[in-house]
Symmetry: C2
Subunit: 531 residues, 2 copies
Amino acid sequence: MRTDFEAYSPTEANFVPLSPVSFLARAADVYANRTATVFEGTRRSWAEVGARVQSVATGLRGMGVDTGEVVAVFAPNSPAVFELHFAVPVTGGVLCTINTRLEPETVAYILDHSAAKVVIVDARVRPVLDAALKMADSQPDVVEIANVGSAVSCGYETLAMTPADLFLTGPADEWQAITLNYTSGTSGKPKGVIYHHRGAYLMALGTVAGWQVPQAPSYLSVVPLFHCNGWGHPWMMAIMGGKVTFTHSPDAASILAAIKDEQVTHFGAAPVILQMLAENSDQTRFDPPVQAMTAGAPPPPAVLEKTAAMGMDVMHVYGLTETYGHISQALWERDWDSLDASTQADYRARQGVAFPMVENVAVINRDTGQPVPRDGITQGEIAIRGNTVMKGYLGNTSATEDAFEGGWFWSGDAAVVHPDGHMQIRDRLKDVIISGGENVSSVEVEAVLYRHPDVATAAVVAKPDVKWGEVPCAFIELREGADPDAGALIAFCRSHLAGFKTPKHIIFTEIPKTATGKVQKFLLRALAKEG
Amino acid sequence: MRTDFEAYSPTEANFVPLSPVSFLARAADVYANRTATVFEGTRRSWAEVGARVQSVATGLRGMGVDTGEVVAVFAPNSPAVFELHFAVPVTGGVLCTINTRLEPETVAYILDHSAAKVVIVDARVRPVLDAALKMADSQPDVVEIANVGSAVSCGYETLAMTPADLFLTGPADEWQAITLNYTSGTSGKPKGVIYHHRGAYLMALGTVAGWQVPQAPSYLSVVPLFHCNGWGHPWMMAIMGGKVTFTHSPDAASILAAIKDEQVTHFGAAPVILQMLAENSDQTRFDPPVQAMTAGAPPPPAVLEKTAAMGMDVMHVYGLTETYGHISQALWERDWDSLDASTQADYRARQGVAFPMVENVAVINRDTGQPVPRDGITQGEIAIRGNTVMKGYLGNTSATEDAFEGGWFWSGDAAVVHPDGHMQIRDRLKDVIISGGENVSSVEVEAVLYRHPDVATAAVVAKPDVKWGEVPCAFIELREGADPDAGALIAFCRSHLAGFKTPKHIIFTEIPKTATGKVQKFLLRALAKEG
């Protein structure tokens, strides 16, 4: 074998570890004068954002944030959270954005499990964090974004004024952790999904190709930044020099107003948000069309029809927290333009084909290890391989090994492949409910139900829902003598669970079990679907 | 320091070495039925191209091509050369596309220097290769693309029918060599620039973002595939599922006809080609506009004006063989649309700002190591850092070390930076002439001139030229008694040099030298410019 081509090792000139920090370094220079962020009257250029990120990073370093230390963020989308997607990586630390819809117990669990050193909180959700901190063992330093609190270690704007001595460079190792995203899986406890710099870089650059994002898009930040880091969109905006607008709240009026005021060209949002926009539309049509990426559930035909009438081009994508967000897309072929509306809606709702940066998305029969035939009938499990698959679950080697069995990441979604190569999900193999784009662990909901004195057996499954995609539906066997009171059980759940996790339906019935006593959830899912 | 984030090593599920082979594997699946290549009535789908590439790779492996072995290609652009951009990497081998305009002596040098195991030749340029093989020490196996020759080891179409047992997977190491591109540098001998799989992957994906390439572009293959592998465009087309059309020859009529017939949306070509198209345009305007990437020289204002009138959006990019092609672009800002035509032409002709996949492009004062101020006046040398910088020069450690001094690749181009951050070249520090997009080493031309019995001293510099950008201009001191006969000297050069290297002007004069006898080329360049 010839070896003369291998004579040269990487040097500083020809090897730079992949990191999305590079995109900001370039944006602060190349797009210096373009607007980067817009929020409540404050506009900042990419040069300003670059400078603020260096200051915030330097300030965090002063608080002890170094390689591998976790900075938790508990906040709705805002320019500060956007900046932290670059500032924490600059320190070498790991950004952990926490779902603001979670109950304090789970927030406390995440703060403890991640061993967060600092938590950055938006004043608007401060009470939930305070409740969580009371329950948590760890006591991270608290930084408040609005800078109005009293009992905070420091304010975010104070950090942003730190004289910078960290600059916009990534880590020496592109495999280094960059963010931590907690997901509800099949077990009750959230798992901490680790992303690395290499994956974040490729996710952002691959999404430009897959979504065909142009120069200087006007982007509205709707998809929560605590979901897969907003599907990697903050990093992508740095590549294209986009303008990123934030609304005070994600209500329909604010979003529709922002789209008009800032001439928004792109946003990402769950189908439930698209539906909300459609219901609140004033019938004017966006021209040119607004590009909407949607994920979390297939967009229903009615939503696709309404958003099309509003002037929105919806691209349905599919992915999981473990895959940095989207890894496949219902890629549109031009010759489908002539299909009837119903077929078009079906095609747009499929999970589709691999994104450009993904190495392989296959639907595999786990018994044989072989891909299923492309017949639109035979089911297999969606399996993914590529550089935008998580590093692993923090502190959970066995779950990580299970997830990567045989060299694939197993999605837990059962799907078919159509003759044109597009995948479509038919069933869920994991015991998880996806409601309004949020994952709900049925095990966690069941555990709360079992705490109620009247409950003998509880089994929670997904029930299809026009608005939310799915909602939790609880089947209950009561103890002898207990009264069936659905309202009381729902209220009990709500006192222990976030709203989106609380069952919307309670069905009192005998629960079908196998001979060995295992609940037959597939029968319950069928019942829930009918009922 | 926390280390729990570093607990996981890469697995097959979450780490795949970057390689453009992945793009073809995906294209053969996702874009299976789309047209991939068009040439003289033959259309092949991406599925067919994927299958042929596997066969060609398997056939080459049968000829002994394995990791690090060189497959040379001497051919104008065609589907075969396009396929070889994937097939050779699949074998682990290194693709070396040789400039078909070179004289046999240099082709022989490249075959020997690269130690090519196989050479694939298009029947149209077979005589030059045969002449080269007579001069070469090495005797690679010959494969002819048209499959009509007699004295060939095998025909390309025979290779393409090999039953495949190699599949579309990249190497285990993304730093592995993928291609070898010979460049004329400051010395007379071409240097072999090594590209690796990682760089080729990032070049292609970054170009999608930088050029804003849409889904399913219709691409015309004009820029020679022997120039930086056609600027990485073959690999990029696999990302977006483009249709790649080839013409039998790159003349204006063929190109203009192909643009119309195949509804071409994108192509890349040197400014001299754009000018040729403009001169031969029938005044119809392309609508929608055709996107043209141009490099090799700044496009002159007249060319920009004419191509705009034809319905071409020209994006001027800058780069070198050592940087896989383009690394900066005259990125257009929307608010420049209102500038006057002359300013717009100036802005479009600048070398501009870094591409998205490039880590840093700076203009540096080599004495101080500091970037020059952004005043549009102070000159420094363009220096580049990033993953699309070559691995090194094959078998030339000292030239490689010089090129990477201080952790940058030094371009040899002197430039200023304007207040808006865009670079513009002012002078060339290396002794090279760029004529019609081809690099000409002045040292090589001088060496030929010195072989003529009448020449006492020869010095060759670039002379600005409306058509070619630059042409070689020779200053000659004759020996005593010799007659000044420019025509005879030019004919002598032409018998030893490719046409583009042959001086277009001969000036008989005393040559200015320093006290130590060094030719003062800067004075000659000034003279050439005036004359």
